[in-house]
Symmetry: C2
Subunit: 213 residues, 2 copies
Amino acid sequence: MTTVADNTLQEFLDALAAGQSTPGGGGAAALTGSQAAALLSMVLNFTVGRRKYAAVEDEMRGYLARCEELRAELLALVDQDAAAFGAVSACYTMPKKTDAEKSARTAALQTAMKGAAEVPFIVAGKCLELLQLAAPVGAQGNRNVVSDAATSAYLARAGLDSGLLNVEINLKYIKDSAFVAEWTDKVANLRAAAADAYTAATAACSATLGVTV
Amino acid sequence: MTTVADNTLQEFLDALAAGQSTPGGGGAAALTGSQAAALLSMVLNFTVGRRKYAAVEDEMRGYLARCEELRAELLALVDQDAAAFGAVSACYTMPKKTDAEKSARTAALQTAMKGAAEVPFIVAGKCLELLQLAAPVGAQGNRNVVSDAATSAYLARAGLDSGLLNVEINLKYIKDSAFVAEWTDKVANLRAAAADAYTAATAACSATLGVTV
């Protein structure tokens, strides 16, 4: 299967810049989240197995395993975002001459748009989890590389904000008002949790680094 | 010449996550900035040559040319960040038995650390320029893809914050107080300009999208 993971950075950036819909902001958000995961993994890889951090070894090993899962999942979400967008695009090619065709096309489009709203929400949720991990890693990880945990928090916040914006943009086109109400709440709840997690992450990194993050 | 641009996304992320110093937060910041540039280029590629946006064609063509330069420069800065870090690491291998050796080592280390502070500042400056471009692109670019200009602003802010944090971390180890004072001012000025540019960029995108960015 073709996957964006096999693209070179140059190829991916060229495709991102081109006048084509995918990869777009959703894919860039997922890749940025994957980088945020990788940076936390880096801090953890400089922490586990070191005598100085033996007291937190088990906890840090657990975080590392989860960061590595999130890194892979977020990278896979670059492809999933493009697939969800492709499903929306495919609907636009459906016939719309008869009333039956029009209503089938509208129904298919609405279903595809719900799918396109879901993917960036998943991206945002995984970025939230990274922000939540950045606090204990920033507080207890190898202090020589804690600036990388802070950078992780900056990138995770950007991935999260981008994901939630893409959800909100998609919701504008969805006619199912119960779905829209439910997802508007989900976005608001995730945003509130993210604000708390970001504050905790930057406070932990600031305390370790002696620099305001 | 080996360049990170030829790495696959998988290879780059694996290297970022590994227990090695480069690529680290500085490289991730530069790549994120390059993605921010690519996303503005995408919006501009959906704008130039379209009858609907003919009135702003010349202006948008100019922005596109600049975004493409910034995209290439920020990608090259991933390698430059690793090289600057490598120069610092090399100093740690210098001998330090005699007083002469110690003072040569300290002098070399201080010079290398100034270089390592400069690269993330350049990254941050280019991210500032992208934030400044996001306002006119968000206001006048193809409105169907303006959410990508907003995502660009989120990513550029993350690249900028990461770059400036890395400058500040490096400054803590530099003994030349005149240099530190000068660069502390430069960081503060860039941060203030970035806050203004971010506010303008998100306001412009919000107005076009009808969603708070």
